[in-house]
């Protein structure tokens, strides 16, 4: 029964039933993986103009929402490990987008702050999501479907991130 639940979607053929769930088309994991990379690619041209990468853009989203935040908190919000964030932040510091400052109260902690330049990117970046979204909606995707999609993904995330 569970076989039909997660990864199985096409009509069962009686032969070959054993491996039906291994077809790429019947997996849920692959569409998520592929869509993720394709969306990143879709953002890329716009992000190139800002001179940043997609994960760097996500870090900026976090900082634009809440500045002066710990490395750990950025990692938690983006569900990334700190050993991914640390070199990323260093590159962003190199570019002059953020500043990293070790806390004086607790010297283990490192606060990340937006520079003037990082703050200024916000206005341009604000236009990006709708530009990408525009394409999808023009391509005939329903708004309700996209919202439902987001909800389902968030359910998966909230479950798997424990």
């Amino acid at each position: 029964m569970l076989l039909t639940v997660f990864c199985y979607v096409c009509s069962l053929e009686l032969y070959d039933m054993k491996y039906e769930q291994l077809k790429l088309e019947n997996q849920l994991c692959f569409p998520v993986y592929a869509a993720s990379r394709l969306i990143t690619r879709a953002y890329q041209p716009y992000l190139n103009e800002l001179g940043i990468t997609y994960p760097q853009y996500l870090v900026l989203l976090v900082l634009w929402e809440e500045d002066n935040i710990l490395v750990n908190d950025i990692a938690r919000k983006l569900i990334l490990n700190t050993n991914t964030i640390t070199p990323l932040l260093k590159r962003m510091e190199q570019q002059g987008l953020v500043e990293r400052k070790r806390s004086e109260v607790d010297e283990r902690k490192v606060c990340v702050l937006l520079t003037e330049e990082g703050e200024q990117l916000k206005a341009t970046a604000a236009l990006i999501p709708q530009k990408v979204g525009e394409h999808l909606v023009n391509a005939g995707l329903e708004v309700d479907d996209l919202l439902a999609l987001k909800d389902s993904l968030n359910s998966i995330i909230s479950f798997l991130s424990k």
Copy 2:
């Protein structure tokens, strides 16, 4: 109007409207990105037992469905570039999972074939998707939602992969 469409989902506050679409929570791109990594993590323990990584698993999915296939075709099916696939296949060849053979008809082409060992992983791998899916369904996710999720993602993929 489009502002409300792709990335905007929460009720609009009148103040701060300008940057509402930049909140992490209002993005569609982030849930896809995060879910993708979390699903990969969920597969990991099972894949570790087989001694393979997640992208290697995807390559095997393709080969189990259709053996003796070109590098290019694997890349196309997984929506990856060949320069990602090539070193990946070399590692899999090193491990004895696949064999790479240059076509005699057209020497530009390289055929990828499963070895006996690669073929044998299929039986164990067949159990993995339902094990991962089991968790999600037990966590209360609706089957219909997951199917709808898959459809929406495939729509996005078919649009963005052109």
